[in-house]
């Protein structure tokens, strides 16, 4: 019994091969064919990949995607660390703060979109009314800048609590003796943070950056409900583009774009992981 790891892994691997491996091979298969409804698929080799890579829509979506992800990471992670410092360390204040932080994380993605649509919609929202007071014509469905700012605000609103919760659990694990030692040495607040806190937060922040990277890079429901990818295609991100191509049965294109997309995510995750976790973290564990 104690010598058979595969026995324990079998059920999980069975389900994963049905839900992951088979569909993935189907996607690879699509990506190598030219598919029209009603006629049999024609093998085209890597043509779809070439088409995707030279497609301005795909490149545009990729650039927007990278820009969006970098923006929200730069805001959410530092803000999360800052908030984590403000949370009380014990007692009911801590419990309350943690519960309040947890709530946004459990709102369905498209409801988050709805919440923000209500908040930002030009005829009924709070933001346009406030902006109008300041003499600014705020309109998510007309101005690309407004749509962008609102999407970034939405993501920061939705996910900063995750960064804060992670950073807080990291802070809790730092022994008080470290700070006492830093105080005795006369370290400034900043250098205490830089040399005591930050290195110790590294493992949790790695998880935070990775999770936020993967999820923001695959964002779909929020732009769908908030902006519908517009105005024009200024908020059309990769998932959105692929879903649109797949729904219009451009399966070869969608397949090739999916594979490229997935590899970008995996490679960048790996790079982030290596950069953030340092030398000791050579594997995913």
């Amino acid at each position: 019994m104690r010598q058979h790891p595969w026995l324990f892994l079998f059920p999980a691997l069975l389900i994963m091969s049905i839900s992951a491996f088979v569909p993935m091979m189907t996607v690879v298969n699509y990506s190598l064919h030219n598919i029209f409804a009603g006629s049999s698929p024609e093998f085209v080799g890597l043509e779809n990949y070439a088409a995707v890579l030279s497609d301005a829509d795909f490149r545009g979506a990729l650039v927007r995607q990278l820009f969006f992800t970098v923006t929200i990471l730069l805001i959410e992670i530092p803000l999360g660390v800052l908030l984590a410092h403000a949370i009380p360390h014990r007692g009911s204040g801590m419990a309350l703060s943690l519960v309040l932080l947890g709530i946004p994380l459990l709102i369905p993605f498209n409801v988050v979109g709805i919440v923000w649509r209500l908040f930002a919609q030009s005829d009924i929202g709070v933001i346009p009314s406030l902006a109008a007071l300041a003499g600014y014509d705020y309109n998510v469905s007309l101005h690309a800048v407004d749509a962008w700012l609102t999407l970034v605000a939405l993501d920061v609103w939705h996910w900063t609590p995750l960064a804060a919760l992670l950073a807080f659990s990291g802070l809790q694990a730092i022994p008080p003796a470290y700070y006492q030692a830093a105080a005795i040495d006369g370290a400034s607040t900043w250098s205490t943070f830089r040399h005591v806190t930050l290195p110790r937060l590294r493992p949790v922040l790695t998880i935070g950056v990775l999770l936020r990277f993967m999820d923001s890079f695959t964002i779909y429901s929020e732009p769908l409900t908030l902006t519908g990818g517009g105005p024009g295609n200024t908020t059309t991100f990769l998932s959105f583009l692929i879903a649109r191509k797949a729904s219009s049965y451009e399966l070869g294109y969608a397949g090739a774009a999916s594979i490229i997309y997935l590899y970008i995510v995996i490679v960048l995750s790996y790079v982030f992981f290596q950069l953030l976790s340092g030398k000791q973290g050579a594997t995913a564990r």
Partner: protein
Amino acid sequence: MKKRYFLLALYFLLLFAPIYWMLITSLKTDSEILAEFTLFPKQITFEHYREIFGSPEWRGSFANSLIYVTLNVLITLAVAIPAAYAFSRWSFRGSHHLFFWLLTNRMAPAAVFMVPFTELYYAMHLFDTHLAVALAHCLFSIPLAIWILEGFMSGIPREIDETAYIDGYSFPRFFVKIFFPLIAPGVGVSAFFCFTFSWVELILAKALTVTEAKPIVVTLTAGIGAEGVKWGLLSAAGVLTMIPGALVVYFVRNSMAKGFSLGRI
């Protein structure tokens, strides 16, 4: 000291402003929503909630979501617990690669799987069933659950297993009586994450269902984009979808911080 609580209070104020706005919108009459900007409903009405509870479509899709989410949590835990045990207790040939492969599925954008899943579940005669959505969500929830559980299990010394065997415990009895209670918080946290993911996921749930298993998230988006969106109704439905999440947060509040660090603190 005062300054940081001020910061925290200000943050929570901003955090709950949009939620407050949705809540009061759900309590306003349609004419008030469109006619003017009010920070508190002039006349509180429950008509939107009544409409939702009176409609079989809304009630049905709410139930559908709860059914496939529950199925997903049960399937995930049933297969992830033994798998995580294997990863935490044995280092076998290829275990690191297998672990990383499992995680790469967590990274996959759901849009990638939309069409192949539709075809696969058609072929398996599972299309438009609760089981189809539950299985599709397993793609993301199993790797995550294994990752979290493995973290919790690795925190439990192997000596505990060995002592139990010396005391004459059989493996199943050891697992149920001794090991399981030790990792119970991890199981709770994993269940929380699976629940969250499956409850909030839209793209696959939408692709795999038509009527029989149509989830609440899809019923919700149906009204958007059309002329004359019923904002009051939409807000009320939005408020209702937040309730299961708020309940779950309340129940796991003690192990939540640990869970968010995936058991690695």
